[in-house]
């Protein structure tokens, strides 16, 4: 059956290629049954793109795995799921294998683990073809080449013989998409397909997904936590919370007129590239309910500022609130015309940033607190075997200079492998630079005697990315927070337990949390513990290494607000390392964009985002999706080609030239020669805005 026939057949059965009705999924655990999906009903029309949005634990992935029959043994599934009219739940192995891949295909989150490491990608695609078509190996491989070309993989004839480990994450995800489209299915389910990827690669992969849709005519279910990704790529959006569908409708309708407070809260807690620092995020208080025994009423009621007695007693049904718009809220109509700030920021707490314009950044003339000059760090690459000769270097950081003043946030942004985390570690002297110097208040920290370096560490503290790995699981929260004080012999002097209690309160935790262990806390709370620990020594500078990237949006907003408040209160200087430009836009005074170990553009955040001059910054900014369907679809896109080159052999001249859209499309042969031969210096275009590009040209992209 071709895609068209399949679609036609499906239309005959009520116009849905996928119809889920009253789907329930639960898992038995030692604590009881976890009810991961509770009565989900959905419909997907032929060729349509549906976004399913929700935070971790909302049941969005479990529901899709249930449809694919991929849930682990022991999962209890009830309800109905029909693919092109055919019931797929509780099918036998053999029947199920005829549906999978042929009618409904899936793309998983982590491209690094989705492909079998021992077979070539060509073989893995060919296998998908041969699972449903009676064709020979040779023919199937030819089809694999064709599919690789379709998802935008350069030189597909060669790539077909590559093993997965020889390809980058973005390429591997495109291979998985090629596998998904191999048999022209009716439905492709993509479960967080870009979450593990860098933004520029995310843009490429979303492009490949679009290509797959166009070629196969398949309907797409795009599961994601990223409202921006949804805004630009789907027709309809469904929001899930605590295993239930809480809102559904056309994408513009849901984004512009949300009728469920949770959706409104998600929108309010999402930092946006098109909003500056003046708007304070509106986080949702609390955490999602446990699914062991969901509360009787609305699952969102405990976190909902609008909740009334009725909400905790009676679960609101999903009801129509507009044209094709469904919401599960007793008081959906009350959300008419209200902003997240109005609903979610408690009275007495200012909606805008402390009720005033953002605190002005300190005058440039103020002496920098922390200064780095020409930092260089190379990591040796050694040969395998006994001798382990040094066969090359990873050029992690190559001549980075930066300044950080009191009460200022400098964001270090760039994709993975650009050297931003290494730079942060060099500043703290957790790593020793190969060249360059780091000064704190004018003193070279390399020249400091051991005792003084120790003293200095009180002024510079770090918060790590992973709130799960950065806290010792065998220490209580009080011990964790007190540890820096004990190390520096200040515990008694600062007031002991009382000081720890004060620190916990500062980060929004209570004294009752002090005796507990890290595993009893959620990710957001753990990150707060990490921040309390970093604050214990009353530092003047905090190095924040991707502090919110492991957190869900609604939780992330609370941590960002906390960081902003702390800066206000203590005049802290932040070095904020992040790959998420939306967050950076929200929190940073100044930005330094790194690419392959070098700063390519730096300046005031407002200016860099409004008028990015370096092609790399431009591609980054353009790749960040806006959580606004109308704006997002109108935006000019600058797609970058390929992946970041290996930092052990950076390109000559300008390091970005191999992927630079300007180099590829706009420059003449002569102009290009300059990019290849001459490394562009970091130069001021206007005072305070420096760019390292021979042909820098400002562009507004938000």
């Amino acid at each position: 059956m071709t895609a068209e026939e399949a679609v036609a057949g499906a239309v005959g059965q009520g116009g849905a290629v996928l119809r889920i009705e009253d789907l329930h999924v639960s898992f038995p655990t030692e604590d009881g049954r976890v009810r991961a999906v509770r009565g989900l009903s959905l419909e997907l029309r032929p060729g349509e793109a549906l976004g399913i949005v929700g935070e971790s634990g909302s049941g969005k992935s479990v529901a899709s795995l249930a449809v694919m029959g991929l849930l682990p043994r022991g999962a209890q599934v009830s309800g109905s799921a029909r693919v092109a009219g055919r019931e797929v739940l509780h099918l036998g192995d053999e029947e199920l294998s005829r549906v999978r891949g042929e009618r409904i295909a899936m793309v998983f989150q982590d491209p690094l683990t989705s492909l079998n490491p021992v077979y070539t990608v060509g073989r893995q695609i060919a296998e998908a073809v041969r699972a449903h078509r009676a064709v020979g190996e040779r023919e199937a491989l030819a089809r694999a080449v064709e599919l690789l070309a379709a998802v935008g993989i350069p030189r597909p004839e060669e790539r077909v013989r590559s093993y997965p480990h020889e390809l980058s994450g973005g390429m591997r995800q495109r291979v998985v998409i090629a596998i998904a489209m191999a048999n022209e299915p009716d439905v492709i389910i993509a479960d967080e397909p870009t979450t593990a990827l860098d933004v520029t690669v995310q843009a490429q992969v979303l492009e490949a997904l679009e290509a797959a849709r166009r070629r196969t005519g398949a309907a797409l279910v795009l599961i994601t936590h990223d409202l921006g990704v949804v805004a630009g790529h789907v027709d309809r959006v469904a929001v899930m919370y605590a295993g239930r569908l809480v809102e559904q409708g056309p994408v513009e309708e849901v984004f512009e007129r949300p009728r469920m407070p949770y959706t409104l809260g998600l929108l309010g807690s999402q930092p946006r590239l098109d909003e500056g620092r003046s708007v304070r995020l509106a986080p949702i208080a609390g955490a999602p309910p446990t699914l062991l025994a969901p509360p009787p009423g609305c699952p969102f009621a405990p976190r909902c500022p609008m909740a009334e007695a009725r909400c905790t007693e009676e679960e609101p049904p999903l009801r129509a609130t507009g044209d094709g718009h469904l919401a599960a809220c007793h008081f959906a109509e009350r959300l008419e015309g209200r902003t997240p700030q109005e609903v979610f920021v408690r009275s007495g707490e200012p909606g805008a940033r402390h009720g005033a314009a953002p605190s002005p950044a300190p005058a440039p003339s103020a002496a920098p607190l922390l200064r780095a000059e020409g930092l260089v760090k190379h990591f040796p690459v050694r040969s395998k075997g006994v001798v382990r000769r040094r066969i090359g270097d990873v050029h992690a950081v190559c001549g980075v200079s930066l300044e950080l003043r009191e009460h200022e946030t400098l964001a270090l942004v760039g994709e993975s492998g650009c050297g931003k985390s290494t730079t942060a570690r060099l500043l703290l002297r957790l790593l020793v630079p190969d060249a360059g110097r780091v000064e704190f208040e004018g003193a070279d920290i390399a020249a400091l005697p051991r005792a003084e370096l120790r003293r200095l560490r009180q002024d510079m503290q770090i918060v790590f990315q992973d709130p799960f790995a950065s806290l010792d699981p065998r220490m209580t929260v009080a011990e964790i927070v007190a540890e820096p004080l004990r190390i520096h012999g200040l515990y008694r002097e600062r007031g002991g337990a009382a000081d720890v209690e004060r620190l916990l309160r500062t980060v929004g935790l209570g004294p009752e949390h002090a005796a507990r262990y890290p595993h009893e806390f959620s990710g957001g709370q753990r990150q707060r513990i990490g921040i309390a620990r970093a604050l214990a020594l009353r530092p003047r500078t905090l190095i924040l290494d991707e502090p919110v990237s492991a957190l869900d949006v609604s939780i992330q907003a609370g941590v960002i607000n906390l960081l902003e408040d702390l800066q206000e209160e203590f005049g802290l200087a932040y070095l904020f390392v992040s790959h998420d430009l939306s967050v950076v836009r929200h929190i940073a005074d100044r930005v330094a964009v790194m690419y392959l170990g070098k700063v390519v553009e730096t300046g005031a955040a407002d200016r860099v985002f409004a008028a990015a001059a370096h092609p790399y910054t431009q591609t980054l900014v353009s790749a960040i999706p806006l959580p606004d369907p109308r704006k997002e679809r109108r935006r000019q896109r600058i797609l970058v080609r390929g992946d970041v080159p290996s930092p052990s052999a950076p390109p000559s001249g300008c390091r970005f030239r191999t992927r630079c859209p300007k180099f590829a499309a706009e420059l003449s042969e002569r102009e290009r020669a300059r990019c290849v031969e001459e490394e562009p210096p970091l130069e001021a275009r206007v005072p305070g805005h420096l760019t390292a590009c021979h042909y820098a040209q400002e562009r507004a992209l938000v």
Binding site: G69, S97, G101, F108
Partner: protein
């Protein structure tokens, strides 16, 4: 690949040298080959002792003796590992250690090979079944058997199996299981096939006993590896492609789950070699294991040293084979 093999072989040289030094010193300082001679009654004449001392090179200083043992330079032609000579035995000048070792190695390798193959086959099969039916009654049963085999000392298991064989023979009134020796005492008049069948029959019980240690460890590893692979994304993707379940299990799950077993198996070879010493004693085989026991009893220094070196070399070779196999099985490992 060739370069890697050569480099890998070169690396084994210092390892083997270190092993030779250790083997030599260990034996040299712990026993005197002449001790038995000294306490003989009536006491042998000093001339005889002196001649024996000279024949066994005990008149030379330690370092010279080590060098001699290694290279054979300056000896009587009966010593020097590099020449393929193991050295003189206390059993007298007529006793050719090399020939004895070779003959017995044939017997022992037969046992080891059978045990390793059987253990691998069973371990993979039960490991896979256990993983696919995790937490089922079958899984728990296999786990119980695995831990039982791990917990029981080899000699005890060997003795039990032997007694069971004897008991079974007694009940059946005929010899079904051979419980003594590596082959029948009298093989004259047997054709080739009869001899092979005879040797095979003698293999059954000792192999069973020797196999259990390796099997127990490997089946646990295989279960863990398989579980990990079964929960991997690429197995999920293989299901999602619409491949039949059996194909997914064989082509995607088992194929990848076998990789870690190669290195584990190589390490366990050493334990199995040690196991032969006990099993051969229990079943009264004339293999390398009993040769070791005899040599220890008679302080037969060169036999002991040679035995240790041989075992060391086998272990090193097994590891080399595992490394190379790894490269074949896992494309992520490339030897340049």
């Amino acid at each position: 690949m060739l370069v890697f093999v050569i480099r890998r072989l070169l690396v084994t040289v210092p390892v083997l040298l270190a092993a030779s030094l250790l083997s030599f010193l260990l034996i040299d300082v712990t026993g005197d080959p002449l001790a038995d001679l000294m306490v003989q009654q009536p006491p042998p004449s000093p001339e005889i002792i002196e001649a024996e001392r000279e024949r066994l090179y005990m008149d030379r200083p330690v370092h010279e003796r080590y060098w001699l043992w290694l290279t054979g330079i300056g000896g009587n032609g009966d010593i020097g590992l590099l020449r393929g000579e193991f050295g003189p035995s206390v059993r007298g000048p007529a006793f050719d250690v090399g020939a004895e070792v070779a003959a017995r190695m044939g017997v022992t390798l037969r046992l080891v090979a059978a045990a390793v193959l059987l253990a691998l086959g069973l371990a993979v099969a039960t490991g896979v079944v256990s993983a696919m039916r995790q937490y089922s009654a079958l899984d728990y049963t296999l786990t119980f058997i695995g831990f039982l085999a791990l917990a029981m000392p080899t000699f005890w298991l060997g003795a039990l199996i032997k007694e069971a064989g004897v008991w079974a023979n007694g009940r059946l009134g005929t010899t079904v299981f051979y419980t003594i020796g590596d082959s029948s005492a009298d093989t004259r008049g047997m054709g080739l096939w009869e001899r092979i069948a005879d040797a095979g029959g003698h293999l059954v019980l000792p192999t069973l006993a020797l196999m259990l240690t390796g099997y127990a460890a490997w089946s646990r590893y295989q279960r863990t590896a398989m579980l990990e692979v079964l929960n991997s994304d690429y197995v999920r993707l293989a299901h999602a492609k619409g491949l039949p379940r059996r194909t997914v299990m064989r082509r995607h799950a088992l194929r990848t789950a076998l990789i870690p077993l190669t290195s584990v198996a190589a390490v366990t070879i050493a334990e199995i070699l040690a196991g032969t010493v006990l099993i051969e004693t229990v079943f009264q085989w004339r293999g390398l294991g009993t040769l070791l026991v005899e040599a220890i009893r008679t302080s037969d220094a060169y036999v002991l040293m040679g035995w240790l070196m041989l075992a060391g070399t086998l272990v090193v070779l097994a590891n080399l084979a595992a490394d190379l196999l790894y490269g074949v099985l896992d494309p992520r490992i490339r030897y340049e």
